[in-house]
Structure formats: C-alpha cells, structure tokens
C-alpha cells in the first residue's frame, strides 16, 4: 500500500497540471467551435502543427516566444482552411478532419526530416521558461503544484474562465450558441452565420496549436514525430465529457493529465505491468469517457456537424 500512495506525490500533481494544459487549450477552442455548430475532428493536426512550427519558429529566431507566435499563426491558417472546406465548400466534417490529421502527421514528420535531416537527437531550441508566481508559490504543497509553471500553462487555465464568461454571459457567446443551435433562426435576426463559424474555426485552430506549442516548447525543447500523441482526440473527448462547457472540458482535461502523469510515474517506479499497456491508459480513459458520457445531452448544439445553406434547397 505504501508503494501505491507514494505514486501520488507533489511531482505527480505538478505533472498533472502541466500535462493537462495542452488538452485544455485545445478543448477550450473546440467548445467554441462546437457551440457554433462545427465539429473539428482535425484537431490532432492543429496540435501537431503547433508543436512543429513552434520549434521551427524558435529555431529560426532563437526565441521560444517567437516560436509560440509561429505556432499560433500555423493554427490560424489551418483553422481558416478547415473552415473554408467545411463551411464554404460544405464538405463532410468527419472526412475532412481525418484527412487533416493524416496530412498533419505526415507533413510535420516530412518537413522535420527534410529540414533537419536524420539525427541522433532532434534539434534543441529555446523554450518558454517557467515563471513562478511570487509569494503564492511559497504556499506549502499547493504552491509548487499550481504556481511554478510556464506562463502558457497559466494561460490555459485563465482561458477556461474567460471562455466560460464569453460563452454564457456576453452577446458574442449568445450569438455563437444561436448559430450552433438554429442557424436559420440566427440568420433571420441578422447574425452572420458564416462569419461566426469562421471566427470560431480560426480560434479553435489557434488554441489547438498553442496546445501543441506547450508540448514542444514547455514540456520538451524539441519536435518529435507524432508528438501530439492523440491529444487532439482527447480534447474532443473532453468536450463531450464536459457537456460542451469549458469548465467541464477542463476537468476532463485534468483527468487525462492525471492518467498520463500516473502512467509515467508507474513506469518510473517499475510497476510490474508492461510499459506498452501503461501507455494506453489515457486512451482507455478517453474511450470509457465517451462511451459512458455518450453525448446525448441537451447541451449538445442542435446543428452540430450540419452544414448551413443560405436559402432553402428545392
């Protein structure tokens, strides 16, 4: 028993908070997008673009913050492109998202090989360094867990609050929700359905890429092939789990962060379970989460994944 309890140390909780942040960033953007009636199944690609272009930007400029800017730019462009294909061209969102992910994983691995060649260790770049909140980080136990992180990690949690406020307490949020519930009714009172959906698509792309930048510029200082490791899909699962509410999604994100941190600590501890089985722990969690909370909820936007046509079709 002593052994099992010793898994849950200060470091474990610290790692949980940090590892949850990419999923939370991506999920916050996805809540906006799904509230506007679009499901972004291409999130995995946006996460990996963020991770790759973050490293590329940092390598070219020598600054982790410029890397973050590059990641956000890449996410914005990808989000815009996704929006164009599913909003304007009205293509099937499942297929489009999946194709985005296939291209994303392939393209980043391809570019990394072509730009940096085959090396023993990937190129190491400047990172976004942790910034401890003064005074607060001296609080016993929780001080280190909560206040010794990189600014991007704080930002992830702050954005959850901001997103909750915007979605539920502002006119903007009301418009986004109207567009997702009943686009035709929203259009009839003068809301530009396409514009709001585009805006949400870009926001979701940008936030997912910021999540990717956390992976490559905060957790590590390099790009590794396929390093998104399913976080885009975890974010999708947390949105369903969290009933399309940013706080709910963040709690889901923390569960996956904990699953991940636990898996790593168990490996480090030499628990007698094969490492390949430990690695799938977060995936099993996500699978069970979507199966149990299967998303038949009144919070689910009514027009989710349905393209919007301006005039009635004959």
């Amino acid at each position: 028993m002593n052994n099992i309890l010793s898994l849950f140390t200060e470091e474990f909780f610290y790692a949980t908070i940090r590892m949850a942040s990419p999923v939370i960033l991506a999920a916050t953007g996805e809540v906006f997008l799904q509230r506007s009636g679009i499901i972004n199944l291409g999130m995995e690609s946006m996460v990996i673009y963020g991770a790759f272009f973050g490293v590329l930007g940092s390598a070219l400029t020598g600054s982790g913050w410029m890397g973050l800017a590059a990641a956000m730019l890449a996410g914005t462009i990808t989000g815009l492109l996704y929006g164009f294909i599913v909003i304007t061209l009205k293509a099937n969102q499942s297929v489009t998202g999946t194709a985005f992910n296939i291209v994303g994983i392939g393209l980043t691995s391809f570019l990394a090989r072509v730009i940096w060649g085959i090396r023993e260790l990937p190129v190491q770049v400047d990172t976004i360094k942790p910034w401890s909140v003064p005074i607060l980080n001296k609080i016993p136990f929780i001080g280190h867990i909560l206040f010794d992180h990189s600014p991007l990690v704080y930002l992830a949690y702050i954005l959850v609050g901001v997103a909750t406020f915007v979605i539920f307490k502002t006119t903007w949020g009301l418009k986004v929700r109207a567009v997702g519930e009943n686009p035709r009714a929203a259009a009839s009172i003068g809301i530009n359905v396409y514009a709001w959906r585009y805006f949400c698509a870009i926001l979701a792309g940008c936030l997912a890429s910021m999540g990717g930048a956390v992976l490559s510029l905060v957790d590590l200082n390099m790009f590794v092939d396929g390093m998104s490791g399913g976080r885009g899909y975890f974010a999708l699962a947390t949105v369903i789990l969290g009933r399309w509410h940013p706080v709910g999604a963040a709690i889901g994100g923390l569960v996956f962060g904990a699953g991940n941190a636990l898996q790593m600590r168990m490996q480090a501890f030499g628990v007698k379970i094969p490492s390949d089985l430990l690695l799938i722990l977060p995936f099993v969690l996500a699978f069970l989460a979507v199966v149990i909370f299967h998303g038949k909820s009144s919070a689910k936007p009514a027009a989710l994944a349905k393209p919007y046509e301006k005039e009635a079709t004959i």
């Binding site: 291209v103 391809f110 390949d276 799938i280 699978f287």
Partner: protein, 401 residues
C-alpha cells in the same frame, strides 16, 4: 393572362423539361464521378510537386523513382500488388460502411486485432491440412477484426457515440495489446526480438506468380470486392444499406432496422480489416510484429473515398495506393524524400475528392439556373440548350438507376 387550358399545357411542358433536365444532370454526375477522382489525384500530385520543388528536390526525379520502385521489375510489380491486397480489403470495409453512413476509421486497430487472432490460429494449431488451416486462419482473422469493429459500432448505433473518437482510441489500445503480446506471451523463444514464431507451413497462402512473392491475398481481395459489389447493388441487404446511408429517417419509415444495419456494417467492415491483417501475415510476413501494416487503416480511407465508395473502384484505387506504398522506399533512397510523403499525398487526395462535392453539385445547380431562365422567357425547353446538344443522346427514362 393565361387561360386554364394553356396553363395545363405549360405544366405538362415544364414537368417534361424537368424530367429531361434531371436525366441530363444524372449523366453529367456520372461523368463527374469518374472525372473527379482522376482530377483529384492529378491535383494532389501537382500540389506535392510544389512542396518537393520548394524543398529543393526535383519532383520529376521523385516521381520517376517512385514509378521505378513500383513497376521497375517483375519483382517490384508483384510487390506493388502485394501491398494493394490489404489496402483493397480494408478500403472495401471503409467503403461499404460509408455507403451506410458509418464512418469507420478504426481500420488500423481492426487490422491489428485480426492479425493477432489469425496468428494465434496459424502458429499454435498444428497438424491440419492446408485446405482447412488457411480458411480457419482467415476466419479467425475476420472474427478478430469484426469484434474490434463491433465494439465502437454498438455504441454508435445505440447512443450515437462519436465513432471517430472511439475508433481512434481503439486503434491505440490495439497497438498497446499487440506490442505487449509480441514482447511477452507470444514472443518467439528465446525472446530476443519482439515478434512471434513463424506460422505453420500449412497456414501459408500459396504464391501465385512463379519467380515473385505475389500471394493469393490479391485474388481474395478482388473476389471480395466483386462479392460486395453484388451485395451492395443487387441484393435487398445492399439496398437497405444504401437507403440508411442516403436518408436515415426515410429508412426508418420504410421499416428498415437502422440499428441492426449499422452494427452489421461495422462487423463486416471490421472483419475485412481483420482479413487484411491476416493475408499480410500468412501471405507476406509469416509472423506477427508490432507495426506490421503501419498506416494502412488510414490510407484505406483515401482508397475508399477515391473510389467514390464503389467496391469495384476500390480495386483500382487500392492498386494505385499499393504502387505508391511499394515505390516510396525507392523514392526515399533516390531523392532523400521521406516515405511520409505518401501519407501527405493520401490526405491531400481525400481533401480534394471531398471538397469536390461542390463540383459534383455543379450540374444540378446549372440546370436549375437554366430552368429558371427558360421559365422566365416562355416556359418551353429550347433546342439551343447546350446541355441538350452535348448530352441528350438517349431518351429519358431508360437509363435511370
């Protein structure tokens, strides 16, 4: 003002012209369904060429190396066909499920589970004659994949659980199970490499082209494609599948059991994925390793979509992607372009085909516009219509599907 009689006449003319236009549009759409995949492949290759060029390589040289790698020698050609066999099988599963409105991207996991169950039967059951052992192994592989298709299929059909999330999670879970098995319980003694022992000789698919490694898996895949073409278009079950895929509400009103249909589709689709893993094990690799068919489950999506979800089209697009996969290695050696280029190509092809939906809608849109114009003038179809001149060769009503 028009009196009643001429108004009736006008209606008759209008309905006739609507019929004709509908017929024309259908012909156009059929033409487009052939043109779009070809254009999509060309456009994707052009886009990739730009990427290759921007990275300082010669695209022509890359494509030449690719072609030499896939068709250069008889041996290479046979290898391309061997790569195509599993792609056709998984792609077929994706295409059929997609016809019924079920989007299965769990091919990756279904391949692995089929590979596991097939390997168990092929390695540990001994003393069977070849004509029993091979079918038994294929059946085991089918069942393994079908189980892995049934799990997400059940939750999708029952609760509408997002199929993409569940299948992707199951892909990673299958990889974890497979890696554990080949390192532990199923490892070949004494356990130096993460792989199983060789399969029994009585379970190995025969080679069908002397002097090459071409195995009977391709024959199986092509036969399966023809069988599912007949099932899909000539049987009541196929009709039900297509109805569910086109309009679920209408299918329910027609008394079709949508729940049962979707579960069946995921069982078949998963089973075909399992079969793909099986033919690779008992046809080409003879033992199970962790990543024995990497990315095939995802590329199957490109195969199915490029084929416009038509089982016979899957054969052609499967052969194309098989050749791409077989040639990628030689391209990598000749040009320093990594093999992940093929993944990019398949993703871009999917995007082009799926985004061309708006192109597919073009004939109907133009026809409607034309009709509106005709009604504006005098309500009769004009003989000058360019649509008519080019495409009206058959009488309407004869060639409707």
């Amino acid at each position: 003002m028009i009196d009643k009689k001429s108004s009736n006449q006008l209606d008759a003319i209008r309905s006739l012209s609507l019929d004709r236009l509908d017929f024309l549009v259908r012909r156009f759409e059929r033409l487009f369904s052939f043109l779009v995949p070809v254009l999509a492949v060309l456009a994707a290759m052009a886009l990739i060429s730009v990427l290759i060029y921007a990275l300082g390589e010669n695209p022509l040289k890359a494509y030449k190396a690719l072609a030499v790698g896939s068709f250069g020698t008889v041996y290479d050609f046979a290898n391309s066909l061997n790569r195509a066999a599993p792609l056709i099988l998984v792609g077929l599963g994706v295409a059929i499920a997609f016809r019924g409105g079920v989007f299965n991207i769990g091919g990756e996991g279904q391949i692995m589970m089929g590979g596991i169950t097939a390997t168990i039967v092929a390695v540990y059951i001994t003393g069977l004659p070849i004509y029993i052992h091979i079918p038994l192994t294929l059946l085991a592989g089918f069942i393994g994949g079908a189980i892995w298709g049934f799990i997400p299929g059940y939750f999708y059909a029952k609760h509408g659980t997002n199929l993409i999330i569940t299948t992707i999670m199951l892909n990673d879970i299958a990889l974890g199970i497979l890696s554990t098995l080949v390192k532990g319980p199923m490892v070949e003694p004494p356990g130096y490499y993460p792989q199983t022992p060789l399969v029994q000789p009585s379970s190995i698919l025969p080679l069908i082209w002397p002097g090459t490694r071409l195995h009977a898996g391709l024959v199986l895949a092509v036969l399966a494609a023809f069988a599912f073409y007949i099932i899909l278009f000539k049987t009541p079950f196929g009709y039900e599948i297509r109805t569910v895929g086109e309009n679920q509400t209408a299918a329910k009103h027609a008394g079709i059991n949508v729940f049962k249909n979707q579960i069946m589709l995921m069982l078949i689709s998963g089973g075909l994925g399992g079969l793909a893993g099986t033919v690779e094990i008992i046809g080409a690799q003879y033992r199970l390793r962790a990543l024995f068919l990497p990315n095939y489950g995802y590329e199957a999506l490109a195969v199915a979509i490029l084929a416009q979800r038509n089982p016979l089209g899957v054969i052609i697009s499967g052969l194309l992607f098989g050749a791409l996969k077989a040639g990628a290695g030689s391209m990598q050696r000749a040009t320093n372009l990594p093999m992940s280029l093929i993944a990019i190509l398949s993703g871009v092809i999917i995007l082009f085909v799926i985004a061309s939906g708006i192109l597919m809608g073009l004939p109907r849109y133009m026809a409607k516009k034309r009709l509106a114009k005709m009604e504006e003038t005098d309500g009769s179809p004009t003989n000058k219509s360019w649509l008519r001149n080019i495409f009206l060769k058959k009488e309407p009503g004869k060639d409707y599907e």
